[in-house]
Assembly symmetry: D2
């Protein structure tokens, strides 16, 4: 599902079509999520631009608060974007924009049965993630912290627990504020990272998109490079002392 | 002083000359620190290999516990390596390998007067960093956490305070465990990062070196891209809702 | 619901009836939770001891994995303990012992309708907490971290979000390892704290129970004393300098 | 040196003599630090009030920036307050109010030789703490974070390292914002905690002083009660399941 970049970009929050395009190119992503239900600042030129760049679309159901609404929106998105890929969002709360687990699971079951490739935006609850994988979701997308908050990964322990609990890909979604957050997500075992506001609302979106590309690459490599253990005391770089040798 | 990679590599802890060479190449660094006083696992082939790779040497005084010893070692290093560049280490304590501020400052004064370009390995104390810059050090190199501990940056607040307090470059030295630590160092305002054990003692040193190269790049870009503010509540990617547009 | 101590004690993990009694007395609690479904190390003497101490019982449904099982167990507990008070647990996962939100909500609805005073053990998800309060639960009891893990409060931000989201009391349940964790829970706005393993499995349960009593008191007072704001730089204790006055 | 409360109160920042008195009484402290060099808001009535309450005085050299100045101020304080007890402060920097290690060590040596019981306000550097103990200081008082910042303990790892490195008492000084910070300090192995702004500048100083009294007690007890280990996964309160027993 994910190619080399392991970075998915969101289009929300972009201040202009040109800055969004620059960010997408800089990020190296080939997968971009777009909301069916929201008026995007990027406006009517968005889809042609994405098409020109050759990126795949990942439609999302942002703005849906019930399973019924999300299912209906997903079906409209399939029509509109001609893809079975779906980032499923069922929001539970206006202030935190965190998902409603029950409605989310209900919608996921329906849409999986309906042939969608469902990637649900979920909380960082390992039990809910297990249930979502259990009903056939193609991945789980836990929130690091609330959408747009820039708080990074509030509970790394839960991301690790999710990683252990499911066999499907784990995509860190929501809350990323800066590059080190994205690197950490990959080090915790995520397969990919989704960023929207962190890039589109940065002072220099293209620069931040480049930073995110490097960060995801860094974290992915570090995760498989066998890091040193944490030690309470120091460990000299070289244990054996001696006279100068040169 | 620092070129594009902003990454300095330490040679201590390397398990073979071949793995060290692979790591140096992968890191993209052009500046490598070597200890005059320690028997390096890499052995007699180290200097020829570094010379062949065209990297600059940054001699260090690892293993010195007094100003007098460090000054003497520094002078020997200048002779041996034919460079005025010096990473000045004066260790205060065997268990933590943290620097002794008094001896460090004393040695720095002597060596600056002696024509060295002094880069002192220091604690994360902003007052000591200010004193070191005040006696003419070319940079300050605060510890993120004890050498080889892999604990990362224990006190990000102090790294920020040091960044505000001095005008010379700040290089995060010691404690880095993984890529996100290096990215964070740059985001906190550091100009460069030094890693040794985190790379040389990783299961796959070259892979971790590549990770560090990307991480430093990511952090440097993110630091100047104008990140989004942290918010307690969520912020929807797009504020204005509407009907589907496509 | 909570008296002055704001501390609820769990009996699980106790190594002897005598040490449990000493801990209960030291804690100053008047509310103790007991599992209907588990063989307690304290054995058959537990209930007479609790009765002698005059503490109220809070039966729980530990060991239940479905709503149906929890409802059945709750009804048996009401018969056995002659109380409508219920700590509702519906576990979702053997490794984390975190709750299953769906089954929990289902059981809560049934038991509220059945006249129970339901205090559900829940995740730290503010949306689920809101749903539980919405179906008539008398309080919500979010996990700070997994039961018995001693990791404290992994995500203080979510505890604050729950505090803002619901009008019913919030009781920090699960994960507490030491006294400062309990103080922090109260500072985050919780109304009470439940501890079990942190006391019963401590080397000295009565001493840790006393610590917890003080910690909950400390946190409750601090939460309403109007703490100073956090500042990046220092603030001298007294701004105006002058000559010695005495 | 420390009696049961293990809490030392600072008088700086008090908004009235009455609120300061209420806070001192509520804290249960018997040791209060006063600055010779600063005009205290509490004004001329401070010393008579402290005398009436029967608390011991711990004069400090707040506002001194050199060893010479601190030594002179210390001698004046001994005259004025008729005590050899001294909290030695030699500030290095106006913005952070962190100590200057070199001047501090110099002043400590002089004052120890001069018969003072020297308690130096120091950074959280374990090497400097060791040096201070080595020249005969009666305790070390590391900063948790900058004075008045309310940031708590920025680097718990360093406080632990100091606890291991010295045999004299360790007093957490500076940075405490709320009760859980004070409890944590004791859990890290400190012998006492000093708070000033956190109490005197709280909205309700007496209430916060009571909170601090409980917090220090809680942390001290917890530190010696043998806390449970931290575990990645859960541990059920009782391992053996069974049928209901009652």
């Amino acid at each position: 599902m994910f190619k080399d970049s392991r970075l998915i970009l969101g289009t929300g929050g972009a201040t202009s079509l040109a800055s969004l395009e620059a960010a997408i190119v800089a990020s190296g992503t080939d997968l971009v999520t777009v909301a069916l239900r929201r008026v995007d600042a990027a406006g009517p030129g968005l889809l042609p631009m994405l098409s020109r760049l050759g990126v795949r679309l990942l439609p999302n159901t942002a703005g849906c608060y019930t399973a019924a609404d999300a299912v209906k929106t997903a079906r409209m998105a399939r029509e509109a974007f001609e893809t079975d890929l779906l980032k499923l969002e069922v929001i539970g709360d206006d202030r935190t924009l965190l998902p409603d687990g029950l409605e989310l699971l209900r919608a996921a079951e329906t849409l999986v049965a309906d042939g969608f490739t469902v990637l649900p935006y979920t909380s960082d609850d390992p039990v809910l993630a297990t249930r979502l994988a259990g009903v056939g979701c193609a991945a789980v997308m836990p929130a690091g912290s609330p959408i747009g908050s820039g708080l990074g990964i509030s509970n790394p322990h839960h991301i690790r627990l999710i990683r252990q609990a499911v066999d499907v890909p784990v995509v860190l979604d929501a809350g990323i504020g800066t590059a080190s957050d994205a690197a950490l997500a990959m080090e915790l075992g995520c397969d990919a990272v989704l960023v929207a506001s962190a890039v589109t609302r940065a002072a220099d979106p293209a620069r931040m998109a480049t930073a995110m590309r490097h960060a995801v690459q860094a974290g992915m490599l570090a995760a498989s490079a066998g890091r040193i253990p944490r030690r309470f005391h120091a460990l000299a770089s070289t244990a054996d002392e001696g006279a100068a040798q040169w």
